[in-house]
């Protein structure tokens, strides 16, 4: 492990295999559950129920209850979809890419980052189905033999989405699960409660830490990381194709894939920090999630943020340079059109404010980072809104120009998915080790095998 000269360590000194193990597993195994947890979970779940109500009404009445119309056929649903998918990128990125880059500091944040990925992708996955005119027919997007003898249309980016997102979810799930197996074994052996023992035992599948197993395990884990790396890049590329493949000014552009991926990582890390900071405070994990982690994540955000800024720049430049009357109008419309305030807000959130991350002090201040991350998440949501709505609402024929106004149902559905996300997170931290115990052990100096 090549340690870049960093002051803050990945893990505070004085820990042993035992302390690490107990510290982390105790969060799950200690009884009783704190009231704080119940309150938090209760609220999150309530919000989620609100979302379900909105979804129920949606199924009864139809997408007409949302603000979508002609020309703006896609509204909040797709905005939220892209936003959630983007957030879902951090997990696999941290686990896979940083693993390949041997960034061992990742070990203490990859577990819940992956969990977050799964939940974010689940939230994202809801929207493409909900936004259908006839959601009960969503399965028609899968190629399966049917009495109609008809099949999906593989030239459509939406079919690509189906494959990309479902693959991404599956791989992330596997990655997360095999990462959990040794820790589940630990919990199996630590827990006093018989039921817990059986459940963890079943999930651990009888893991016993055999050297042979470990060696195959490591190979598989590494290969999976190798596969997940191109995958994570491809997913948001494919999502960006939804727009790039079309002919609508503001969508039809080649910069989208890289710029979407960067944006995804940007928002992903923001979400990781928004979760990590309170969690480490509440569960006193400052020893494992140290300022070093905050600092590194902050720098990743700074970097990806600049890539995103470059994306905006190129879009604007192309609008002007192409000389295409539709593209140049799009630029004008973003700067002076009815949605211009949102565009400026977007620039402030995604480019302006994050520049404070140049300040080292702020990169290690939990509160500061927490706030900046929040701003970035808002900014990234706005970016998707600008891309989807502002491009659509004024396209080629001036006669067909229109406006898009979200309805209360749009908001309720969106908020609802946030509720779903948080509920899932609460459950996760309560029943599974939120930090990879066995990988933490490897970080300890004792883990090194001294040559005889």
């Amino acid at each position: 492990m090549d340690e870049p000269r960093q002051s803050a360590p990945v893990i505070e000194p004085g820990h042993t295999f035992a302390t690490v193990t107990d510290k982390i597993s105790s969060i799950v195994l200690t009884r009783p559950t704190s009231n704080g947890w119940f309150v938090g979970f209760g609220l999150a779940f309530l919000v989620f129920m609100g979302g379900l109500y909105a979804i129920g009404y949606l199924f009864v009445r139809g997408v007409g209850i949302w603000g979508v119309n002609i020309p703006v056929g896609w509204g909040f649903a797709i905005v939220n979809f892209v936003w959630w998918i983007g957030i879902g990128h951090a997990g696999t990125l941290i686990s896979a890419i940083l693993l390949l880059l041997r960034q061992s500091w990742r070990n203490s944040i990859n577990r819940f980052a992956e969990a977050m990925t799964l939940f974010a992708v689940s939230c994202a996955g809801l929207f493409p189905i909900l936004h259908l005119g006839r959601p009960w027919l969503a399965y028609w997007l899968f190629p399966y033999p049917n009495t109609m003898n008809v099949w999906p249309q593989f030239r459509s980016p939406l079919v690509w989405d189906v494959f990309a997102v479902s693959t991404y979810f599956t791989i992330s799930l596997l990655f997360w699960f095999i990462g959990l197996i040794p820790d589940l074994a630990t919990l199996r052996d630590r827990s006093e409660n018989r039921a817990a023992r059986i459940i963890y035992g079943m999930l651990a599948m009888g893991w016993r830490g055999s050297a042979r197993h470990w060696s195959r395990y490591e190979t598989a884990y590494l290969l999976l990381a190798g596969l997940a790396t191109p995958l994570v890049l491809s997913v948001h590329t494919v999502v960006s194709f939804d727009f790039a493949i079309s002919i609508i000014p503001g969508w039809h552009t080649t910069i989208f894939p890289p710029y979407f991926v960067a944006g995804a990582i940007y928002s992903g890390f923001a979400m990781v920090l928004m979760l990590a900071i309170p969690i480490r405070k509440i569960y006193g994990l400052e020893d494992f999630i140290t300022d070093r982690h905050l600092n590194n994540s902050a720098m990743v955000m700074l970097a990806t943020g600049l890539i995103v800024a470059y994306g905006y720049g190129i879009e604007a430049f192309m609008g002007w340079y192409s000389g295409n009357r539709y593209d140049s109008f799009l630029l004008w419309n973003r700067l002076h059109g009815p949605y211009a305030p949102l565009y400026y807000l977007l620039l402030i959130c995604n480019i302006g404010i994050p520049q404070v991350l140049w300040i080292r002090k702020l990169r290690t201040s939990p509160l500061g980072l927490f706030l900046v991350s929040g701003v970035i998440l808002v900014g990234m949501w706005l970016e998707r809104f600008i891309i989807v709505v502002v491009s659509l609402h004024r396209d080629f024929l001036t006669s067909s120009w229109g406006m898009y106004y979200p309805t209360r149902w749009d908001w309720l559905t969106y908020i609802g998915t946030i509720g779903l996300f948080l509920s899932a997170m609460f459950l996760f931290v309560r029943i599974l080790p939120m930090i990879s115990i066995f990988e933490m052990r490897t970080l300890l100096p004792q883990a090194e095998v001294k040559p005889e």
Binding site: T167, T170, T186, M202, S215
Partner: protein, 178 residues
């Protein structure tokens, strides 16, 4: 070979270094049917017990190839053979459009192969295993390191093996009932 009521003999160590050293010595001593257990992966350990290569990469490669071919074949069969129809004036075999799904299918199959292959090769799930009969083995997932000599080893013999293990200076030795 002779039937024995015991599954093997197990020695417990405190540190990865001790375990690796012990494993080496045991292997050099001519024991082949041995295994070592640790709470985290130790690169040297597999070598030490004479486990050199595993088949996971091959499985993944095969999975990937299957995914790739089936992915493209599916699209070609649907778009060109069984359901040919003019979509926006594009040719039936619009290969550039078929790349994405092919790629995703490759990753999916390779990934599944990696996980399922690993589990299968490791013989998991195996909730029951004799080693769990040893109460102290619970620490194998915390901070203890175990070396195991199976009773099926030709050199195995309850008395000699125990003596040999004692020679390695373990924290404790326990017999693993079958």
């Amino acid at each position: 070979m002779k039937r024995t009521p015991i599954y093997g003999m197990m020695a417990e160590f405190d540190s990865p270094s001790d375990l690796v050293a012990a494993a080496r010595r045991t292997y050099e001593a001519g024991y082949q049917k041995i295994d070592a257990y640790s709470p985290f992966p130790i690169e040297e350990l597999a070598e030490a017990i004479g486990f050199h290569s595993n088949a996971v990469p091959l499985v993944v490669l095969i999975g990937g190839l299957i995914g790739c071919l089936s992915g493209y074949a599916l699209q070609y069969w649907i778009s060109v053979i069984t359901y040919p129809i003019n979509v926006g004036g594009r040719p039936l075999h619009s290969w550039p459009a078929f790349i994405v799904v092919t790629f995703e299918m490759t990753i999916l199959f390779a990934g599944l192969a990696a996980v399922l292959g690993m589990l299968a090769l490791n013989g998991l799930p195996m909730p029951y295993h004799p080693v769990f009969n040893v109460p102290r083995f619970a620490f194998a997932t915390k901070d203890r390191f175990f070396l195991m000599i199976f009773s099926t080893d030709p050199k195995f013999n309850p008395v000699d093996t125990r003596r040999f293990l004692e020679g390695l200076g373990p924290r404790s030795i326990s017999e693993v009932p079958s």
